[in-house]
Symmetry: C2
Amino acid sequence: MAVKSAGIRDVAQLAGVSVTTVSHVLNDTPNMRVSVETRARVRHAAKTLGYGPNRMAQALRTNRSGLIGLLSEEIATTPHAGRIILGAQNAAREHDLTLVIINTERDAGGTSHRDDVQALIDRQVDAVLYATMYHRSVSLPPNLQDLPAVLIDSTDRAGIVPAVVPDEVGGAVAAVTHLVEAGHTRIGFLNNDDDVPATHLRFAGYRQVLQAHDIPFDEDLVFSAPSETLPGYGLARELLGRSDRPTALFCYNDRMAMGAYRAATELGLEIPRDLSIVGFDNQELIAANLFPGLTTVALPHYEMGVWAVETLVHLLHGEAEYRLIADKPALLDCPLVIRGSVAQPRAN
Amino acid sequence: MAVKSAGIRDVAQLAGVSVTTVSHVLNDTPNMRVSVETRARVRHAAKTLGYGPNRMAQALRTNRSGLIGLLSEEIATTPHAGRIILGAQNAAREHDLTLVIINTERDAGGTSHRDDVQALIDRQVDAVLYATMYHRSVSLPPNLQDLPAVLIDSTDRAGIVPAVVPDEVGGAVAAVTHLVEAGHTRIGFLNNDDDVPATHLRFAGYRQVLQAHDIPFDEDLVFSAPSETLPGYGLARELLGRSDRPTALFCYNDRMAMGAYRAATELGLEIPRDLSIVGFDNQELIAANLFPGLTTVALPHYEMGVWAVETLVHLLHGEAEYRLIADKPALLDCPLVIRGSVAQPRAN
DNA sequence: ACGTTTTGCCAAAACGTCTTGGCATAGATA
DNA sequence: TATCTATGCCAAGACGTTTTGGCAAAACGT
């Protein structure tokens, strides 16, 4: 079945040179001394034999496996992880690296995470990507310091490892600005009640926009609850039932927005005529399938995957200073995705 | 940074034996001849040094990399791919194999898929998993025959490669039976209109249940449209607007079911009191977030990932005959996930 | 006591590549 | 012409394992 493929020796023989020369030519060894004709002959021979280097032998000799490990929480639960993988994979391929994936449990106690990292180290990965399911601050397993690493969607509590996270504030600013520019001034905010960065940062973005537009902040317009559909429904029900109800809602995430849709329907409010809504996360399955489509903010999962791999490559090539990058987490843009849930407020 | 770890030589030295002996002991080489005491000494030495074998050297020597490639379509688009990855990864880990993932484009023309397979071969994977995004029949790139392979969620048009797919008929039977057992006899079916296996098989399951329960098949209760929310809404609207409307709906997938929910709401039908609905796919984001939760059929993505890896392992160990397995695709169970969208039909 | 088997261990080769330190020849410099 | 430098190439060792074929010593059989 598996056909034994040509080795460097076969190429050497066909080209009539030594293996040394073949290696030099195919690797473009800096300041090698091989005549132009010989190079051509070698390249030709390699091509006709369909030669590809044996990665294992290469790895053994050079001590670089070309593998990079992606440690990802809960791959299954969310499409987000998928986009990270996709971005990382594409970037890796660009640099002739191979992505190996290990799933890890979110809140596994004890040495579980350390074991996962160790599993990757045992497999000779050159570096590791550590991706969490949502933006938060983590304390890292100690053995992660044994090799280059980059954090995705989380920051190192100790501030030692480079990290990339979404620009939550910017995303919230984009969302709320969109509402303000449509003419809204009474904008409710259905926030998450977990103590995670996103909670505070999206709220900060919300306030920032109000202030920039001289809209007074009204704390009666801000409610918090677990970031699920049902609590979102409950909150929206309450907020929209009031006589001085807001004309627009900014929701912590798309699931809460989904709940708000239901509340609006039940109260006889038509979206976006009577109520504008903006979500966060751009969960296609929800946002694109609601009626009307939910205008929301996209998280840059794909881009974070790419960024992380690119950064690793720089690190591995020694082109970048580890500490320098680790200093501040990189912020990636959260673009607004406009669908159909925002309109001008109805002239009373 | 990366600490150079102990090699087999260090272990040998510490234990006072030759590397040969160490290798034998640690690999449990069949009918090796090493005294019990020596084994203990070697094991102890290995442990104290924290020895782990260099996989690259191992791979080079044994010509087995321990890598298995997962070629997956459109990782990003769907959580389904995530569950396949998760299952495959867990099973791989169980067998001390490492999963490397390559994303491929769904309908990429030309030699694209062949190139993807080649990329994996070039990376010395021992075998490959080929996963498609939804159940269908494919023609495989020729170089996939150069090494063991298993198909996930698709079948080989040529019938050469082993495959595992969901038991669509069984799933549909479970869904419709659930409705029948709740007392429904007028059950509408909102089907997909693509010519893919699932379309025909789920329909077959639907008919099968009717027949088994002596319920006459009424073709006016079966509608087809693209399997999206909006078409689902349209179909449901039409079907439910009629005077002799069905008391229950079986939907091709959860998105169509989501559309049906909306139609029901607009027509003043309360789910499940006035209308029972069963979906297919168990897309958590939709099914768990609708009101009430959607009873639906789960696809065995995780299980297919596991099955595929297990099968590969058997193949690699030569414990199973390739042709034998390839003969018929394996069918995996599609269990019913009961939430809140089914009830007895209302006594008129 | 002598051959034979079994037990316990090891030396050395091999896997396919990269890399160091050469050695010739040709051209340049004196 | 004699020396020096640059050019073009190669032999051989190393990376860390596994595996083959052995060799002593101990155990066994007669």
